[in-house]
Amino acid sequence: MTETTEPLLAVKQLSVRYGGIQALSSINLAVLPGEVVALIGANGAGKSTTLRAISRLIDVADGSIIYDGADITRARPHQIVRAGIAHSPEGRRILARQTVQDNLRLGAYTRRDRKQIAADMDAQYGLFPRLAERRKQIAGTLSGGEQQMLAIARALMSRPRLLLLDEPSLGLAPLITAEIFTIIDNLHAEGVTILLVEQNARLALAHADRGYVLEAGSITFSGPASALIDDERVRQAYLG
């Protein structure tokens, strides 16, 4: 009994409706502490919707979201951040009018430990040297790859126990994508728990422990990442 680890995040029978459309139908997924879990699937399958429901940006029609043993299905978005979940969203959504430094500082908005915040900002600059060079720059002037780095660094500034990453490779050159995924590996090694949404299924599974496949709002496959990569049906549908 002591060997079974409680999941850090458990999504149970989750359904989401947008207007009249069923975006998610009773999906189940779990993320164990320290795991990197990939959520893959075609465009419009409901991957981002799942993350947005966990962050409470959209309302849940049915089912529940359990984080660290507590039901957060009806929590408000800012309470989610305080609980320890950070979300690096689709489209990055950096604050284009503020400086790199202010973006990072606002990432720690929920924290009050000034000294530690300053230390963590330096840590982010160590992790993302390109951001360090541009700390006084207005974030809107950064390149796509730099903006993605800023979005991840900003999410890390809240010292999350669970990091939700939405399409970190979207629109980036292969070299930059590789750089980003090296950082994801490093975070994994440090023990950060990550739920990763990616359209690039092969890439995501290569860096994850386990994976789930979403199809039109339902989970059709799940299992260890290596098994999914080898699965004939997953290969045909998503790995080409």
Partner: protein, 331 residues
């Protein structure tokens, strides 16, 4: 001798013009600073929610009446509250801050009634124009119902100033400026300074800027956006109420429609400065205040038109307003 009969001595001519100009500048700065305070309230709400609060002028009016009531003065003979007064008479400064606070609370209520229900239903932003105008009409009529349509004046010399006017010129060429205008200017400067510091130098201000830029991002950063929106409406109403009291103190409260012209002019000020731009609202306030002060006395009945004429001209050249940023869509 021949030239002297035709032309006035050069030094006196220059002197008259100069003192008149200085006088106009001082008057313009004083009224302009009130426009700035009032317009800031508009622009704060606009920058956060992207909507114009048309009840802002009514809150301005209410602020003036609240202050009047808090100074313990009696209302007139019309309306439900005829010939009544509060049992306490607060000193004017305290009453002014109290009136502004109450106006802030009304503004929070306006958000609750006219904006939040629409926002929660993701309604078209234009609908809030209608709902806030509706609230404005209700507030104005409520005032009339309660205290009638007559004009009210604050106690003379409300700030306890030792002199009614201060001479900025010399004994021979006086440039008298009413002391109350100097007080108004000083109060406005303090408010503007505090607000600018709060927005640019505090975490709360940066959070507010984040909410203004992207509500979703603000939520993801852990900012309690609902609470910040309420706070913004409070500050906005507080500033409106303060402006109402200051204008009431320099003239009088001219009735329930006191804030209507002011509300329209305030709109002109923020559009002139650049919608949603804090420094733009301040600059716009001073530009319009100064322009009005330079209207020659014989055209004083057209004073109200000056603001809109300037607005029209400047928007022809800079459609985004003086300090507004051009909309750049980055794909």
């Amino acid at each position: 001798m021949r030239g002297g009969a035709l032309v006035a001595p050069p030094d006196r001519q220059a002197g008259v013009d100069f003192s008149q100009i200085l006088q106009n500048i001082l008057n313009g700065l004083s009224i302009g600073s009130v426009y700035a305070i009032f317009a800031l309230g508009y622009t704060l709400v606009f920058s956060i929610l992207g909507i114009i609060n048309f009840a802002h002028g009514a809150v301005f009016t209410l602020g003036a009446y609240f202050t009047y009531a808090l100074t313990g003065q009696r209302f007139g003979f019309n309306g439900l509250l005829s010939n009544t007064a509060l049992p306490v008479a607060l000193p004017f400064i305290v009453a002014m801050l109290g009136g502004a606070t109450l106006a802030g609370l009304v503004s929070v209520l306006v958000e609750r009634v006219a904006f939040r229900p629409l926002r929660q239903r993701n309604a078209d932003r234009l609908l809030s124009v209608v709902s806030s105008l509706g609230v404005a009409v209700i507030l104005v009529n409520l005032i009339q119902y309660l205290v009638g349509a007559e004009s009210y004046s604050y106690p003379s010399n409300p700030f306890g100033l030792s002199k009614p006017a201060i001479n900025f010129g010399s004994v021979e060429r006086p440039i008298p400026v009413r002391s109350i205008q100097i007080v108004i200017f000083a109060v406005a400067l303090v408010i503007l300074l505090l607000l600018t510091l709060a927005i640019n130098r505090t975490m709360l201000g940066k959070a507010l800027q984040a909410v203004a830029e992207d509500l979703t991002t603000a939520r993801l950063l852990g900012i309690n956006t609902k609470r910040l929106i309420v706070l913004t409406f409070f500050v906005s109403g507080f500033l409106a109420g303060l402006a109402g009291t200051l204008v009431g103190a320099s003239q009088s409260i001219t009735g329930p429609y006191f804030g209507i012209t002011f509300g329209l002019k305030g709109l002109g000020v923020i559009v002139l400065g650049g919608l949603g731009n804090v420094s733009g609202a301040v600059l716009g306030g001073f530009v319009i205040g100064l322009a009005e002060a330079f209207v020659p006395p014989q055209f004083v009945q057209y004073k109200e038109a000056v603001a809109f004429a300037i607005l029209f001209l400047i928007l022809l050249i800079r459609p985004q307003g003086l300090l507004g940023r051009t909309q750049v869509q980055k794909v």
